[in-house]
């Protein structure tokens, strides 16, 4: 392990690996990435891995569609051989009230301004896309055929491999224990395998980010929350798009290998680092899933697990430098959409760290909360 670096990135999830690759691609030398376990062992390897462009704010639409473009050309852009199993069979967003449908209509106007090919559907048209769908109480739906799913392990490993090829040093099973500072400037990081002196520290540690920033004596307005998820045995392909409802609170899709993967947002879940599975989740999920797709009643659940959402005050990402400490940067607060935004976030963070003009016209800095500029994204799970 190097004991001196230009930039140290903490966290080997999809965001940290994307940042590492994009920094190296910009020509930054001596980038070191540290991961306390194996790559994608955090939220990335536990997520639903859905990728959607149907958002309600212009900047989320922009980041999601730019990221989708990168997923679509992943092997060419990164110049690697790794199949990320991109599946573009759409996202079908379900509306159970007129109010929800009205919101979808407004979102579609924003999406169309960025050429995202989304459309509004009647319940009958939704059923033509998913024949097993229970359309009782359904008022309408929004659909974008280009949304979908990608394999989160392969995407993360792809970024890691491409980063290494460009000279990034990746140290797995290396835990950051402290950030050393002097005169409000970062000087380096202490790990369980030694000290690394560096000019810049980028924290991309998912649900643990607030703890790491605390090592430098700072508080961030973010917290972590358990989200559970399960997977079924694999069966023949019957569900093309990701099914999602904000009000019924569910997401469910069939992966390319045939297993269904699904979850919902917990209610009254206290902030914590708990990643245990619960019986209550399995029971509620079973009811929700079989109500939505009745034929699922005969399918076997084979595994359930949990991961952490990292949540900011407006449930939107913070991709920012930290003004109070020279040389400290964070990419966190991704709620349930950090995987699908990671390609664009890596580019943004590389711009911020190198002091270049931002590639995308977006506002994700930490200071927005002090300025009272909350991002009002209506379509967040």
């Amino acid at each position: 392990m190097k004991n001196k670096a230009n930039v140290v990135i903490i966290g080997g999830g999809v965001v940290g690996c994307s940042i590492a690759y994009n920094l190296a691609k910009k020509g930054v030398k001596d980038v070191v990435l540290l991961e306390k376990s194996y790559l994608s062992s955090g939220a990335t390897g536990r997520c639903g891995a859905g990728v959607r462009q149907q958002w309600g704010t212009k900047q989320n639409c922009l980041l999601a569609s730019e990221s989708m473009h990168i997923f679509e050309h992943f092997e060419d852009i990164l110049q690697i051989k790794r199949d990320i199993e991109l599946k573009q069979k759409g996202y079908l967003l379900l509306a159970y009230s007129d109010k929800e449908l009205e919101q979808f209509k407004k979102n579609i106007v924003v999406q169309h301004s960025l050429n995202i090919p989304s459309i509004l559907l009647t319940p009958k048209e939704a059923k033509e896309i998913v024949s097993d769908l229970n359309i009782e109480k359904l008022v309408g739906a929004a659909y974008c055929a280009k949304d979908g799913h990608a394999n989160p392990f392969q995407v993360t490993l792809g970024y890691a491999e491409a980063a290494q090829r460009l000279g990034v040093e990746i140290n797995k099973f290396t835990e950051v224990k402290d950030i050393i500072t002097k005169n409000n400037t970062a000087l380096g990081v202490q790990t369980n395998k030694g000290f690394i002196e560096c000019k810049k520290v980028v924290v991309a540690a998912g649900g643990w980010t607030q703890n790491i920033v605390k090592m430098a004596g700072l508080d961030l307005p973010i917290y972590s929350e358990r989200h559970e998820i399960l997977v079924t045995e694999s069966v023949k392909n019957v569900l093309d798009p990701m099914l999602m409802s904000f009000s019924y609170n569910i997401y469910c899709q069939q992966e390319p290998n045939g297993s269904f993967i699904m979850g919902y947002g917990p209610e009254n879940e206290p902030p914590s680092y708990n990643m245990e599975s619960s019986w209550e989740f399995l029971e509620t999920m079973s009811k929700k899933a079989t109500w939505l797709l009745p034929p699922l009643k005969n399918i076997r659940v084979i595994r359930q697990w949990a991961g952490l959402y990292n949540i900011s005050p407006d449930r939107q990402p913070i991709v920012s430098q930290i003004n109070q400490l020279e040389g400290l940067y964070v990419a966190c607060g991704f709620s349930g959409h950090g995987f699908m935004l990671a390609p664009a976030v890596g580019i943004l963070m590389a711009d911020i760290v190198t002091g270049d003009q931002l590639t995308y016209n977006v506002i994700l800095d930490l200071e927005r909360f002090n300025r009272g500029e909350i991002i009002e994204e209506p379509s967040v799970v």
């Binding site: 194996y38 790559l39 994608s40 062992s41 390897g45 159970y96 009782e136 109480k137 392990f153 392969q154 490993l157 997977v231 045995e233 694999s234 019924y248 290998n257 599975s277 019986w279 399995l282 029971e283 079973s286 009811k287 899933a289 079989t290 109500w291 699922l296 009643k297 005969n298 399918i299 076997r300 659940v301 084979i302 595994r303 359930q304 697990w305």
Partner: protein, 95 residues
Amino acid sequence: MDENKVIICRCEDVTLKEIRDAIREGFTTVEEIKRVTRSGMGPCQGKTCGLLIAKEISQMTGKPMEEIELQSIRPPYGGITFEEVTKGTVMENDK
């Protein structure tokens, strides 16, 4: 022995060759190999392949078997249908 013909993970059809390639690529824990090859992701959750993979890791890296962690076994251990879970509970028929 033809590595291509030896199946290590029966649920996901992963061969000995694929496991050895992953170890050669630097994935030297059962959890990592699970993620790159899908071994252990099927219905038996690696009850058979987990140990076999650990043995390969041990042989190829020289790390003693006792030091190799097996994959996490997750609930619901046996594989249960949604209907079996919901049976007996009152179905709320509001969405």
